[in-house]
């Protein structure tokens, strides 16, 4: 090969079998696509609706108030000494981030069928871009949360440093699961219908409207296997202050998020080559 070819990128296309490498370098190379796709999703969300950004604030606010009224006031759920409105808001914040990513990213490949069949870029970017758009919604809700904290005069102190870690685990977990679901959804559209149901069930199986202390002692070990339990408790601790008890479930959630991410990415890459034929 001549020397001037060395500067030119070289790609060899050949049939692949079994597991493929993740090619993270290529993901970085195509980062503009991720940014532009995420930007598009965010813009569309605020362009097509008259109220735009108000929806993102109003939705969780209204949902939080209703849940606070039902579970806090009427049912008298314990909230560990914290104002129940804050308690439930912090829970919803984390859950909505998780569910939002799952919903958007889970259907993302089918939604982008036109792109996938017409142009090449690393397909992993598609669910990632959808997740990034969901993250923007989360950040806006977070502003509302801060407003509530100020209103109630709650200051978590050093616990606040935990916030980026918890968000990272939350996003990692959701994106990892989304890799699985989005890829499976291409082949089996059943997941399109199963997903909202699974999210609904997950809401009750996770400590969103109730705290861990409400779970009977002997079930706690089983309950703690749900990674969202650790994430939600972690988020509450980061925003409202907490105890050292939160670190163990949070560490477990981090490990599970990592497993979901790695296994999801490899599974995605493995079935990716059939996407064009199934879309």
């Amino acid at each position: 090969m001549a020397q001037n070819d060395i500067q030119r990128p070289f790609v060899r296309i050949r049939p692949s079998r079994g597991w493929s490498a993740l090619r993270l370098g290529e993901l970085w190379e195509f980062r503009d696509v991720l940014v532009m796709l995420a930007l598009r999703d965010v813009k569309l969300r605020y362009k097509q609706t008259a109220l735009g950004i108000v929806w993102v604030i109003l939705q969780p606010l209204a949902a939080g108030l209703v849940l606070a009224l039902i579970f806090g006031r009427f049912a008298g759920m314990p909230s560990g000494g914290r104002p129940y409105v804050l308690f439930i808001f912090a829970g919803l914040l984390g859950w909505n981030l998780f569910a939002g990513i799952l919903q958007r990213a889970g259907n993302s490949l089918v939604a982008e069928a036109r792109l996938i069949t017409k142009v090449y870029f690393p397909r992993l970017l598609i669910p990632c871009a959808a997740a990034a758009a969901a993250l923007v919604d989360f950040l806006i809700s977070l502003v509302v949360m801060v407003g509530l904290l100020v209103w109630y005069g709650v200051w978590p102190g050093w616990w606040l440093l935990l916030l980026p870690v918890v968000v990272l685990i939350n996003v990692g977990l959701a994106v990892g699961i989304s890799f699985w679901i989005s890829a499976l959804n291409v082949r089996y559209r059943d997941f399109m219908y199963a997903l909202p149901f699974m999210i609904q069930m997950g809401l009750y199986a996770s400590p969103v409207v109730y705290g861990l202390e409400l779970v009977p002692e002997r079930w706690r070990a089983v309950f703690a296997l749900n990674p969202m339990a650790g994430v939600l408790e972690g988020l509450r601790s980061a925003l409202l202050g907490g105890t050292a008890e939160v670190f163990r479930p949070l560490a477990l959630a981090a490990v599970m998020a990592l497993i979901a991410l790695v296994s999801g990415a490899f599974f995605f890459r493995r079935v990716e080559r059939d996407f064009t034929d199934n879309l």
Partner: protein, 424 residues
């Protein structure tokens, strides 16, 4: 110096055709999968029982050098698009390899990544990024793109408010400013009005002319392939049929495309009531494919059949070039204003058609029988594939000083070799 841009070796793509019962719409549901489990297990013993293989592409090998513009021709479903999709990494090959030296830009449709709700400006950045441009690159060429598309006034309007012409122009403009070393283009010029097509053509020539680029272009327009490409390949039934200069490949393709085999009469789909055509001889041969020398001056057309009643009928023959343009029209009825009345029974129409001196290439003849005052008795738009042989490589189709006309033949004058050659 190695100046290969793309090297394709033994490329093949196989699709499995499942004779599936329930899989509507191409994708499967879990239910289908579960329902098929028993039969799947049974089939595990005797593999490939329910699966048919279809090779969309097989054994395709070629190289494209830098600075070369390769045209890909072939009928629909021949595998052209599959080839481009493999080269642009949208689908994976089943066998073979492709080595690519350089960045690849692929334009498989107009407006990849465009979203109607976004503004022109936003779409330029979105589509540009998806097609592989870096953001600084897009920013640098933004004004140029907008100017080329001629949408300066509307660049901050949502493209859903654009006219379809504006939309197509903007979409092409983004694609045309890709600066990759390798460009793959699939029929993107098939949209827009004539003026825009011309502008695209000019831009394409500019792209092609820019140094060191390799371009692969699929098109159904022979004129485009001829004017833009330095080389052409013909793909048919997934295989590489021909590789060479565009003119040669196109000529061969044209002759083979219409499956110019069999007898001319077999091409007749419909005739009017009361008329029967038994044989059509062109240049002394009943075959659909006719090879003549470039100095041939005439072709004899003889038509035999029978009629059941008194009719007025006369022959009409059109000479087409390879792109379907009419070069000449021979109609004794039109020219003389006299169309003979024929009595029931066997009939014979025989004419010696003086043709212009044709240069080497592919042509075709259309043959019909008409009553000029009334209606057509039958029409064979693609009656004969005419291949003109000769060494000349002059431009154009007609040689200077040629003239055409017709004369009627009486019975014995018909000669099979009036400057004509039998293909066999």
């Amino acid at each position: 110096m190695n100046d290969i841009a793309i090297s394709v070796k033994g490329l093949g793509k196989r699709y499995r055709l499942h004779h599936s019962e329930g899989a509507a719409g191409g994708y499967r549901t879990l239910r289908d999968e579960v329902m098929r489990l028993p039969s799947r297990l049974r089939n595990a013993m005797r593999p490939a029982a329910e699966v048919d293989d279809f090779w969309a592409l097989r054994d395709v090998s070629f190289d494209v050098k830098r600075g070369e513009v390769l045209g890909v021709i072939g009928r629909n479903g021949a595998g052209k698009s599959t080839l481009l999709k493999i080269l642009s990494r949208i689908v994976e090959p089943t066998e073979g390899t492709v080595d690519i030296y350089g960045r690849v830009g692929s334009l498989l449709e107009v407006g990849t990544g465009f979203h109607p709700e976004l503004t022109g400006r936003e779409n330029i950045f979105l589509s540009g990024a998806i097609l592989g441009m870096k953001r600084p690159e897009i920013r640098a060429r933004f004004d140029e793109i907008v100017a080329f598309a001629g949408v300066e006034l509307f660049v901050d309007e949502a493209v859903k408010h654009y006219s379809s012409g504006m939309y197509a122009r903007l979409a092409f403009a983004v694609a045309a400013h890709l600066e990759t070393e390798i460009l793959l283009i699939d029929e993107v010029l098939a949209v827009g009005d004539t003026e825009f097509k011309q502008r695209c053509g000019m831009k394409m020539r500019q792209l092609v002319g820019s140094e060191g680029r390799a371009i692969i272009l699929i098109s159904h327009e022979p004129a485009l392939i001829r004017s833009l490409c330095s080389r052409a390949i013909h793909v048919d039934k997934g295989r590489l049929q021909n590789d060479g200069l565009p003119d040669q490949v196109l000529t061969r393709y044209h002759l083979e495309r219409k499956s110019a085999s069999g007898l001319i009469v077999q091409g007749i789909k419909q005739v009017a009531d009361g008329i029967r055509i038994d044989s059509i001889k062109v240049g002394g041969s009943e075959e659909r494919r006719l090879v003549i020398a470039s100095d041939a001056e005439h072709i004899d057309v003889v038509l035999e059949g029978a009629i059941q009643r008194v009719v007025r009928m006369e022959l009409e023959v059109r000479l087409y070039d390879r792109d379907g343009n009419t070069l000449a029209f021979f109609s004794p009825g039109h020219d003389s204003g006299l169309v003979a009345v024929r009595n029931p029974g066997a009939f014979r129409l025989a004419h010696r058609i003086k043709i212009p001196r044709l240069l080497r290439g592919a042509y075709s003849l259309r043959i019909g029988v008409v009553d000029p005052n009334f209606t057509g008795w039958f029409d064979l738009p693609d009656a004969v594939q005419l291949e003109v042989e000769g060494a000349t490589t002059r431009l154009g189709m007609l040689s200077a000083g040629s003239h055409c006309g017709w004369m009627m033949l009486s019975g014995e004058e018909v000669s099979p070799t009036g400057g004509l050659e039998d293909p066999r």
